[in-house]
Amino acid sequence: MAETAAPETKKNLSLRTSPAALLRAAFESGSVRGTVELSEITFLTMVGLRVGRDTEAGQRVASVTGGLPATCGTVSGAGDTSVLWLGPEEFLVVAPLEAHESLGGDLIQALREALADGEGQVVDLSANRTTFELTGPRSRAVLEKGCSLDLHPREFKAGTALSTEIGNIPVVLWKTGDESYRIFPRASFAEFLGRWLLDAMREYASPEVP
């Protein structure tokens, strides 16, 4: 567990290295413009939440996040803060970089105060996972090479997030638009999954074989 709370001495945040930083050039050259593109979104604020939706503490927490999702796949939230359903009493809050307390944000503190002494947990998981963004008309075809979910838009609609496996790596897969996905692998799997996705994307750089 990385200690991400701001210490007394001021941190130089520009020295931070994201889990897939070494693949930045490869993502750039491996992306096929207008077909399928891959990039890393670095250092999003993520908070692990464990609380029952129906408890008083759950309702207090929900008022901070803009609701807690009720069923598998649903995403709730308000503004730029989203809450992904991970389990019946487990959620992942995803917010922009600036929401983190090391940059002066107050999201995590607000969640802690909302939970108070209620039954549950608020844990800063920002260093646990990184974020990949996969976009373009072929992105679904790329994911289908290593994901057993039914990704057809009839089943998997924009605004849905599911925990599953891609290329045998446990991830949370969030469909943010008709042709855009966010993938949350744990930091230690980021390089493998990044290279796996690049490999899966490679065929779309060549002309289609009729």
């Binding site: 598998c72 796949g73 389990g87 487990e90 599911l162 496996e165």
Partner: protein, 134 residues
């Protein structure tokens, strides 16, 4: 590949799940009163049923919740999925042509008998390896 219907998440690939062994193995009411053999039987001895078998599963890469499943160990047919702590839903439309070991085990949850029920019955039932599969 099995498609397993998680009570929280719906139908998912078997690779997202972990097997948790036989269900309804009740913790002994008075563990201190067991002798070594009875304790070993509680810890390690399980039925090896040919036919409908009640077992625990964990949706490990999904919602991370446990549930029970009634599965035919020969045909792999999933006959029922039910919550942890619920009694085994026998006769989910069918009566199982089973040796009866699994249903004895199921009784142990409700009666809470101190001695594990697996010992004597499992040995007799597993010595019939005709067509047995792994």
């Amino acid at each position: 590949m099995l498609l397993i219907s998680c009570p929280n998440c719906g139908s998912r690939d078997e690779t997202e799940f972990h097997y948790g062994g036989q269900a309804h193995v009740a913790y002994p009411e008075n563990p201190n009163e067991l002798n070594d053999r009875e304790w070993a039987e509680f810890l390690f001895y399980r039925d090896n049923t040919k036919g409908a078998f009640a077992e625990r599963w964990l949706h490990s890469t999904g919602c991370r919740q446990w549930f029970n499943m009634l599965r035919d160990t020969v045909t792999y047919e999933i006959q029922a999925i039910y919550p942890m702590g619920a009694p085994r839903p026998d006769a989910a439309g069918r009566t199982t042509p089973d040796t009866g070991t699994a249903s004895t085990a199921a009784d142990s949850t409700t009666t809470g008998s101190a001695a594990p029920s697996t010992s004597a019955t499992s040995i007799s039932s597993t010595t019939a390896p005709e067509g047995a599969t792994k």
